[in-house]
């Protein structure tokens, strides 16, 4: 019983991180209609920025904030410098470009930050909470992770559903020309979309790094799981991304604990294929069809 609870709680925390990552993918998808595969190394780079600052003797929260700001800036810069020239062309161009960026950032990080495993601190306790005389696998940092991701999801729903800015971002993503005719500064909206997505990605990077080991490749599995989570939720819906991340985290944790850890990646692939075959629009897609 305790094992089941702890396995599920582990899956819950992990699922929240996948959810955060899926949220970043959803953000870019909603605001630019492409999938950003460079999200993982971008988050890795900003996490290393935080690590540098923390190792330099500054507080955890300064590093945390710096990483988020770095994420915001990095996202904007990537959009302006790299993605802008191929905007308006086939979407696959931009997607391939993000793949290239994936490799470049990896290599650069290895040069700048070194290629070895390092430990990353956590802001809150890493001991499990004690209930009676048993300890459950939910740490202070785990709770922080869950709360942070839920708050971000809420903010994104508010942004897209209830604000003028969100509407403009969606319009810019959906049909640039019509949006322009209606007075939307499309370029700015796209930059903003990338910046926000990169910020959420950085948060995911920090959350998964906290109290664990980091190295330039530590986010690579997360981009795969985050993508699966986003597809599971429908790529379009922030709530879907969170539910998708949770489902994925829980199932992978159960697979790891009760079947075998060597099957985790395979299980993720099986889930991805099942979703693409059975319900390609995802579990939570709102508009079934959009014809333009």
């Amino acid at each position: 019983m305790q094992q089941l609870v702890n396995t599920l709680l582990g899956g819950l925390t992990l699922g929240m991180v996948y959810a955060a990552f899926a949220l970043a993918l959803v953000l870019i998808w909603r605001s630019t209609r492409i999938v950003n595969f460079a999200q993982a190394p971008m988050a890795m780079v900003t996490t290393f920025v935080a690590l540098r600052i923390i190792e330099g003797g500054h507080s955890y929260w300064l590093g945390f904030a710096a990483a988020l700001v770095a994420g915001l800036v990095l996202g904007a810069v990537v959009e302006r410098v790299l993605i802008r020239p191929v905007e308006g062309k086939a979407e696959i161009n931009a997607v391939i470009l993000t793949l290239g960026l994936f490799i470049v950032l990896h290599a650069l990080a290895a040069v700048v930050f070194g290629n070895r495993y390092r430990s990353f601190p956590a802001a809150f306790g890493i001991r499990g909470i004690e209930v009676g005389d048993t300890t459950i696998a939910l740490t202070g940092f785990g709770i922080f992770t869950i709360v942070a991701v839920l708050v971000v999801m809420g903010l994104l729903v508010l942004l897209f559903r209830f604000t003028d800015l969100g509407l403009r971002m969606r319009a810019a993503a959906f049909n640039q020309e019509v949006a322009r005719l209606l007075g939307v500064r499309v370029g700015r909206m796209l930059t903003l979309g990338w910046a926000l997505a990169s910020l959420v990605g950085s948060l995911a990077g920090l959350l998964i790094a906290g109290g664990s080991l980091v190295h330039p490749g530590y986010m690579d599995a997360v981009v795969v799981y985050g993508f699966v989570a986003a597809v599971l939720g429908g790529l379009d819906s922030p709530a879907g991304a969170v539910v998708g991340g949770l489902l994925l985290g829980l199932s992978l944790s159960l697979v790891s604990g009760y079947v075998g850890s060597q099957l985790v990646a395979l299980a993720a692939l099986a889930i991805l294929m099942a979703v693409l075959l059975l319900r390609p629009q995802g579990l939570f897609s709102q508009a079934r069809e959009r014809r333009v």
């Binding site: 702890n6 997607v95 290629n115 001991r127 109290g211 693409l276 069809e289």
Partner: protein, 448 residues
């Protein structure tokens, strides 16, 4: 077709390629290339040089600690070269970074053999990695010496792999020795096994189960690369184990300790020699939770492990003093560590093997010399080597210790045994008492 669906399908196919890219990893890093050949009869040997090489994880999951091994070996070879080399030949050691990725080990070993034309590979690291190349090396008749791994595959069948020699005690005898100790001294312990899911874990389990089959309450395996070991540790906890025998690499020792802390799981631990370096594991644990885990070597206090060569915890040992001298004179950046000592120790054995093989150095001759003289070589090893025509396995034993602030406190004398049902006995060879020669360079007579 629905444009959205098409886009999604495109993204999915890209995802597949991405997984491939990630699996292939970034390109390797080559150190200096040596120009092999040059008129001598044997590949890689000239009148004044011997080209050798090896593959090591300088980057990636297995890099902490292990990447220091070739730096130690190189320092010792430089030390020997500065004193004139072996029979007038200097040793050129080419190090290749395989990132603990078997596909890269394959191509880099091809490079070493076919392009750099090395005389032998020495010290190549890792069970999964070296498994990918061991048959190639034997087919090419390249001496494949002192594999840095305790798998049985490096020496239990010299007929099938005549060129391959192990060096450190294999995981099966380590499993046997700790298994017998627990059966004798902790007969009521409920034992959990935490194993790497490859030969490392399998060989160790084979040894442990010879003695502890009845006491084992749970067995969990982790996959190298997946850093979430929560489900495995939770399962061990559920099995009510109060002694966990962990056959893990250092990163996973740290992750297991961390996860146990998270789950409030407090068993006694035995950590395999390869995963128990207190300085390294302590360093990895250090920054978690800002000092709530002790960051120095005391992080592993009370943990049992084993030793088969003297390490930095014994600065007064004559061997360690030699290694310190070598490192101060020829080392690169950083301090002397147990991993560097490990590299120096097999480098020492390699120099002994070259001396035993004599002036007319050939690949065949080197193998024969090791089979003939190997078991009598005196080096830093606490127990004798097992080299013979029937076995190419390395050091025959180890002592069990408890870690206390980074120092190993002996629990047993040096115990020797062999694979299978060979008995475990206290070592009487005196190997653990010897000291290196004054010059720091071995002086082994050539076999006839």
């Amino acid at each position: 077709m629905n444009p959205r669906r098409r886009r999604l399908a495109g993204a999915a196919s890209i995802l597949t390629s991405l997984m491939l890219v990630a699996a292939c990893g970034a390109g390797g890093r080559d150190d200096d290339d040596s120009d092999g050949g040059g008129g001598a009869a044997e590949v890689g040997v000239t009148d004044d040089s011997i080209a050798i090489g090896g593959t090591f994880p300088l980057t990636g999951v297995a890099a902490p600690g292990y990447s220091e091994i070739p730096t130690g070996a190189k320092a010792y070879f430089d030390f020997v070269n500065a004193a004139g080399g072996v029979n007038g030949r200097t040793i050129d050691f080419t190090v290749k970074d395989d990132g603990y990725d078997p596909t890269k080990t394959s191509s880099l070993t091809n490079e070493l053999v076919l392009k750099d034309k090395v005389f032998a590979t020495v010290g190549s690291l890792g069970t999964p990695t070296h498994s990918a190349v061991v048959d190639f090396l034997n087919d090419e008749k390249v001496p494949d010496l002192f594999v840095s791994s305790g798998s049985l595959g490096w020496g239990d069948d010299p007929e099938a792999r005549p060129m391959t020699f192990g060096w450190q005690p294999d995981y099966e005898i380590e499993g046997k020795i700790i298994g017998q100790y627990v059966a004798k001294n902790m007969p009521d312990a409920k034992v959990g096994l935490f194993l790497q899911d490859d030969d490392f874990g399998e060989d160790a389990e084979k040894g442990v189960r010879q003695f502890l089959d009845d006491q084992i309450v749970g067995t969990q395996r982790y996959t190298s690369g997946n850093t979430d070991v929560g489900p495995q540790v939770a399962a061990l906890q559920a099995s009510k184990a109060d002694l966990v025998l962990a056959f893990t690499t250092p990163s996973y020792t740290a992750l297991a300790q961390l996860t146990s802390l998270k789950l409030g799981f407090k068993p006694d631990w035995y950590v395999s020699n390869v995963g128990s370096d207190p300085a390294l594991v302590g360093g990895l644990l250090e920054k978690f939770s800002e000092g709530k885990v002790p960051g120095d070597a005391s992080a592993l206090n009370g943990v049992m492990t084993s030793e088969y060569i003297p390490g930095i915890d014994a600065p007064d040992n004559a061997w360690v003093q030699l290694w310190q001298k070598v490192w101060d004179a020829n080392g690169g950046q950083g301090e002397l560590t147990n991993y560097r000592i490990y590299g120096m120790s097999w480098a020492y054995t390699f120099v002994q093997a070259l001396q035993a093989a004599g002036k007319d150095l050939t690949r065949e001759g080197l193998v024969e010399a090791l089979e003939e003289a190997g078991s009598s070589l005196e080096g830093p090893n606490l127990a004798p080597y097992r080299y013979s025509e029937d076995s190419h396995l390395g050091i025959s034993g180890m002592e069990l210790v408890t870690l206390e602030n980074g120092k190993g406190k002996p629990l047993t004398k040096v115990l020797t045994t062999d694979i299978g049902d060979a008995e475990i006995a206290e070592d009487d060879s005196g190997q653990s008492e010897d000291a290196p020669p004054e010059s720091g360079i071995p002086d082994v007579d050539a076999v006839d």
